[in-house]
Symmetry: C2
Subunit: 546 residues, 2 copies
């Protein structure tokens, strides 16, 4: 008998912390809604999902055939099991999302004081296929006991009207977006929930802001207690893939909140996720089909938003993007610590132990290889072929730098091609490279270019700073290391490097005339993170033993 032997390679270990979200909702056997949709959504956003199933439904895309509620006893045991193992005031459970509830589930849940947990309540009443999923008494319990504890309530327009009526309000006629906004604010005043999102999929608006069945503008309105209203506008999607869109939107918001995204960002990213899921799916089933929960969500709201003028920040040749980054209050001191790092001072003053310099060169060799590869990635994400070309040119320059390192180290009997084990990357190098690789995965061209900028520009500045120090101290003793250090300073103050710096500055600035302020904040964060990683890279060298 033939025997194949397949030996599987070992994987790397890695401590990934997943934020935890629990969904309390019904099970939809067909997988498009309920806890099934919630878990799929949690996976798409990379959070860990737990469940408390309030009822089992036998359903498909055409409707709910029957359902059985979970007993109070079992609900109580489920909540106990989940809380005692996954909740201790600080986590890891961060958000609870509720969908189809029963009176029993609400009563069991309200027995717990759950400090620090955000509740996202989706007041599900009727399924997309038209089945009633909770009775009036249940809704009343939800309003009385659960909503006052909640962080966010997410009814659709029909559910919002029902709740409004139950609370004794008379539902106003909604003719305009302004009317819709007023209605959302009044509902929040009655409900006293912390934040309220009313989904407007049932009432499209036309280009004159008027409600119209043929309108193509879908308006979702978020009202926050600070007094802010956010109107999310998106285009009406003609799609049959609508089963479970409501559940999935709320669970996407819950997942983003668990990842510490702010509420506006969470809602925007989630609306887009649902849209993509509806659009990027072949129909399944014979009724309203499910969406594709496996689509890739965006990382930031700015990636999908058309910003208004007031939200934009402008840059020009007087106020360049790079200058803004370097002089930003959160960056400025770090930039100085980096470009005037004690490592550079010790090189310039020839007080750096030569072993440490060799260690640094080896680390930098590793780093530059990743740095070159990152420019390949930016080449692949460039918006024009000229940009692609410029990244290719930079790769050639980096290779030049790598070859210089190699030659220098060879003079000290370090042979890259032979002593590869001797050249293991250290912690600071690995952290820096991992950060760049992670940026490369999720960032666009501008994001990657921003992450790569501190290296190019910082070395140009540090080189000049160091060479000036060196020149101010002409009488220091001659030595082998002094020659090497001088040649290192010469490299980064050389014409070719300074010219690359000028070209790089121009190229980065030319990418940006105006940017959403939110996006600028993120880019500042990236630039600052990388500046800190550069500091760390040199500090590690100085802190070496021996």
């Amino acid at each position: 008998m033939k025997t194949n032997h397949i030996k599987i390679r070992e994987s790397k270990a890695n401590h990934v912390e997943l934020p935890v979200v629990m969904t309390i909702a019904g099970s939809d056997s067909s997988g498009g809604a309920g806890i099934e949709a919630d878990l799929k959504t949690f996976s798409a956003f990379g959070v860990y999902g737990m469940t408390c199933i309030t009822a089992l439904t036998a359903q498909n895309t055409k409707g709910v055939k029957t359902f059985e509620k979970t007993s109070s006893n079992l609900l109580s045991q489920i909540l106990l099991a989940n809380f005692e193992d996954f909740y201790d005031n600080e986590g890891p459970l961060k958000v609870i999302k509720t969908g189809m509830l029963t009176k029993e589930a609400i009563l069991e849940l309200t027995k717990y004081e759950l400090n620090g947990i955000k509740f996202v309540i989706d007041p599900v009443m009727i399924s997309t296929s038209g089945s009633t999923l909770i009775d009036t008494e249940g809704i009343q319990h939800c309003i009385n006991y659960l909503i006052p504890k909640s962080y966010l309530v997410t009814p659709n327009f029909v559910e919002a009207k029902t709740i409004y009526s139950l609370l004794g309000g008379e539902v106003p006629v909604i003719n305009t977006i302004q009317d819709f906004k007023s209605f959302v604010i009044s509902l929040q005043n009655l409900l006293k929930c912390e934040n309220l999102l009313v989904k407007g999929g049932h009432i499209p608006f036309d280009n004159n802001d008027r409600e119209s069945s043929t309108g193509e503008r879908i308006i979702d309105i978020l009202y926050q207690p600070s007094g802010e209203v956010t109107v999310f506008e998106s285009k009406f999607i003609k799609s049959e893939n609508t089963h479970g869109t409501g559940c999935s939107l709320s669970s996407a918001i819950a997942a983003n909140l668990a990842k510490n995204k702010d509420l506006v960002e969470s809602v925007g990213i989630s609306i887009d996720y649902i849209h993509k899921g509806m659009l990027q799916m072949s129909k399944l089933g014979h009724g309203n089909g499910p969406l594709n929960h496996n689509v890739q969500p965006v990382n930031y709201l700015h990636e999908l938003v058309e910003y208004e003028n007031g939200d934009l920040m402008k840059f020009d040749t007087e106020h360049t993007f790079l200058n803004y980054l370097i002089n930003h209050p959160s960056v400025k001191d770090n930039w100085k610590k980096y470009t005037q790092h004690p490592f550079v001072q010790q090189v310039a003053n020839n007080t750096l132990p030569f072993d440490k310099f060799l260690y640094y060169l080896k680390q930098d060799y590793h780093y530059l290889i990743i740095y070159a590869r990152m420019h390949g990635l930016s080449a692949s994400k460039a918006e024009t072929y000229q940009q692609t070309h410029s990244q290719a040119t930079i790769i050639s320059e980096i290779v030049q730098e790598i070859e210089n390192h190699k030659r220098k180290l060879k003079a000290y009997d370090v042979d890259y091609d032979k002593d590869i084990d001797e050249l293991k990357p250290g912690k600071a190098c690995i952290e820096y490279c991992d950060y760049l690789i992670s940026c490369g995965m999720k960032e666009d061209y501008l994001g990657i270019k921003t992450a790569l900028a501190p290296c190019l520009h910082g070395y140009a500045e540090a080189g000049v700073y160091g060479l000036n120090l060196f020149k101010a101290n002409p009488k220091s003793e001659d030595s082998e290391s002094k020659k090497v250090y001088k040649s290192w300073l010469d490299e980064y103050t050389s014409d070719w490097y300074q010219q690359a710096n000028i070209e790089g500055t121009k190229a980065l600035n030319s990418l940006v005339d105006e940017l959403p302020k939110k996006r600028v904040e993120e880019l500042v964060r990236i630039f600052n993170d990388v500046t800190l990683l550069e500091i760390n890279f040199w500090s590690e060298v100085l802190e070496l033993d021996n």
Copy 2:
């Protein structure tokens, strides 16, 4: 009151077909096992999950507190709902995976004739935390009614022994891997299931193939009816993240089968997925914690396997990789159709309508931009910085080619920078580019280089073929188009292009001394796919109206 208006950009529509898998199992409220783990696993592999919940458990990482079985009536309604909407003999439901079963669930399930659906039976009996999940009567039902219909049964060693005893066998002592193999074959003979995988996590082996509690070799054995035995060997993982590993392995296999992967490939990819999930997770809960279901699985088994010598294919300067690809039986005819395409003939004979040639140039302009970006991606995935550098050099050459196109088109009043709308990519171009981009996402350096190879080498051959045709027909009428066609043929027969072809051939061949046969098959498939896309690219031009 401040109102923010956020307008969300429209997403692209796309018909993604998801294979469907149903899990019939219990619910684990803590999310680490049961249908929760199954759904998370299905998401990781991009398949659509449905559920039939056989029991609700209140459990966490420390144990099962209590559980309630689902009633026969509800089970029957759930299966009816799922089958009537998602199963019609041909799909979309392709695989059913079972976990914790009840007698009732087995009886309801066996009422259906389910042709074309593969059953993956994980005969769960005891949870990782030690709770009994099915009684002997239930196991007996599973053996009598379900396993005979199954495609694959996946017991762990303890479950395998229990089943063996129930079937009247006397469990042999397992001292060696050979004993284990014999045991698996005997069990299959008793069970009569189509394929059997016994997971050996409970009995590690040492380097002398002997069972040993301190052994570090974990052996999972797959026995296939064809008489093949596959031994999967992996390294013992010391980890507390073991809750739900059994469920998740079976659902990973089910997901891969639904994606039409073969059984050996499915099992190998799944074992690796579980390992990564255990290793790349910070502990959750106070008992044996769950794994991280969000880790990225590999696409192919070859990515994680240490192949034995006999499974390798060797290449050298006599038998080069590129020659093997071009002359492969599945490629050879297509390669000729491509490099001697009627488009090239019509160019060479000056019978191609000039409008069509202009259309082609515009399409090629689009294509080349993506082609350049793809080389950026390969630069980022290169294994050495010299490779990264060579990709950068190719980008520069492609940019040269793009600029040439641009200049040529300008002579015919097509201005790229102005008439961008005129230059919309056609169907053939979009398909080709999408294919390359998708390769770029999932392939390694060699895979991408293989996908990019037909363009470089095919044009070099087509150019020579065309120029020879042209020269054989010296008396054809002179015309403007003839000049243009000649210059096009000249470009691809020019020294610089032919030199690039030679360099590219060397570079590709130098990547490959030996490769697993499986991997060679995949690369042949990629090379052939791209060759067909090249044919299509030119055929579209000829099939244009007017």
